[in-house]
């Protein structure tokens, strides 16, 4: 078993964890590693076993600043609720060349729109997405699920128990978002579904009355709609 002469600082450990991780690490996950390593190796390793999450967050902040100051070409970004060690954006073209990722394969507009609707309104039915976009989305939706940007999160209680869709961790990673609330106007768009105005009670009563009237004449209306246009 190897021994270490000088115990590293917390931020060094975190730096190496972020380097080795295959996905963004949350403070909680880092804490778990520290605890497990303490239990597994014992001795001096126990020193970091009791670290609290806010100490980890503070260490990450310090590390982030140091990385930025020392111009290493690397930086730490907050993505998908965790931290990710990545290259600095202005170095991107060289990394792309190295990895042979020079083709621009971006998501299509319909795919982005469908994703946006799902992101704001999840969990959401396919039919609800379609009523916003005014056009069928099954193919687009299938592709998004295949790319793991979208997943089935539940089944609704409606007849036929249709699927409800939501965005994935991968969605956040793909767009470099820390969390969904980083998307603009999240609160407003989430709610727009419901009428914007808060209805007063008399107004609601009136509306119900109207609905009842409409329901009575509905059959005629539906068959008559097209003819009306002539």
């Amino acid at each position: 078993m190897s021994s270490i002469e000088v115990l590293p600082e917390l931020k060094q450990i975190i730096g190496s964890l972020l380097f080795a991780a295959k996905k963004p690490l949350t403070a909680k996950e880092i804490r778990k590693v520290l605890t497990d390593a303490g239990a597994g190796y014992g001795g001096p390793y126990v020193q970091f076993a009791e670290i609290k999450e806010d100490e980890i967050v503070a260490a990450v902040t310090e590390l982030t600043e140091e990385l930025a100051r020392s111009s290493t070409g690397l930086c730490i970004a907050e993505v998908a609720h965790g931290y990710r060690l990545q290259n600095e954006i202005n170095c991107g073209p060289w990394v792309r060349t190295l990895l042979d990722k020079d083709h621009n394969a971006r998501l299509s507009k319909p795919a982005l729109e469908t994703l946006a609707i799902i992101a704001y309104r999840q969990p959401i039915l396919r039919s609800e997405i379609e009523s916003v976009r005014g056009v069928a989305v099954d193919q687009v939706l299938r592709n998004l699920v295949e790319m793991q940007l979208v997943k089935v999160v539940a089944r609704s209680d409606l007849p036929g128990r249709p699927w409800l869709f939501g965005t994935t961790q991968r969605f956040l990673e793909h767009f470099g978002l820390r969390a969904l609330d980083e998307m603009p106007g999240m609160e407003e768009l989430k709610r727009m579904e419901k009428p914007e105005r808060t209805k007063t009670f008399p107004a609601m009563e009136k509306e119900l009355e109207l609905r009842a009237q409409e329901a009575l004449t509905e059959d005629d209306d539906e068959s008559g709609e097209i003819e009306e246009t002539n």
Binding site: F19, P110, L115, H174, L177
Partner: protein
């Protein structure tokens, strides 16, 4: 409309799936005409909508049935607007009573999502330059959905519409004139855009006197875009559309209906 005569003698189908829906077309027309979304001139917009719909049908684009449903909705709204106020039903809040209101609400909502999609698109562009260890970018597959990311189908149709408007009215002898074919226009386009030479649609259509020739050329542009040989771009909204050839070692496109054309 007798514009169907403009199609090449054999029915030619580009099989280009139109991803945009009726709401996209309406938003496009509203933006193009710079009208207030909260006060849409229904008559004018409906006329334009039908015009585009007709063109899409003539081009045999695979349009969704939703386009027809929206056409009916527009007509219903138009007819309701013609009714005197008192016949429309109980007058309460003016907004609620406006027959356009439901559509306006839907359009405004959709517009917000479109903007959000634009935001995601910008993020995606940034993330293209970001790599983490083993962090694989989402694999989008080799075929990006047709080279249409920058120009919408409606922009293209609008260009076609303009070219058709400019073309002189068909004369009688036109019937006996030489017929143009899509495959011949495909060859012409590949030649005209050789060596990365950009070509504006305006210049492409200029000098074409026959409406049938314009339609054939337009179909050839769509076909080449679909085959990923041409890409269309537009620097600003409603600017001239520029087409460019995509340089790659792919074999020449083969038109399935070549013999018939």
């Amino acid at each position: 409309m007798h514009m169907a005569d403009l199609l090449p003698n054999e029915e030619y189908k580009v099989n280009l799936e139109v991803f945009e829906g009726p709401l996209d077309l309406l938003l496009y027309l509203i933006k193009k005409d710079e009208v207030d979304i909260y006060d849409i001139p229904i008559g004018r917009i409906t006329t334009q909508y039908m015009e585009y719909l007709d063109l899409m049908k003539i081009l045999n684009l695979e349009i969704a049935g939703d386009f027809i449903v929206m056409a009916a909705t527009l007509m219903v709204i138009k007819s309701r607007l013609l009714l005197p106020d008192e016949d429309r039903g109980p007058v309460e809040e003016d907004d609620e009573d406006d027959p356009r209101w439901d559509l306006v609400r839907q359009l405004v909502e959709y517009k917000k999502f479109k903007d959000a999609a634009g935001f995601l698109g910008q993020l995606e562009e940034i993330q293209e330059n970001v790599f983490s260890r083993e962090g694989e970018h989402v694999e989008l597959g080799m075929r990006p959905d047709v080279g249409m990311s920058d120009v919408s189908i409606f922009d293209l149709i609008s260009a076609l519409n303009q070219a058709l408007d400019r073309a002189p009215k068909e004369e009688l002898n036109e019937i006996f004139a030489e017929q143009f074919t899509v495959s011949e226009k495909v060859d012409y386009l590949l030649e005209a855009t050789k060596n990365g030479k950009p070509l504006t649609l305006g210049r492409l259509f200029r000098g074409m006197r026959s409406r049938q020739e314009i339609v054939c050329t337009f179909l050839a542009v769509l076909e080449l875009m679909k085959l990923n040989r041409l890409v269309a771009r537009q620097d600003n909204h409603f600017d001239e559309i520029v087409i460019e050839q995509i340089e790659n070692g792919e074999p020449e496109p083969v038109l399935q209906k070549d013999e018939q054309l």
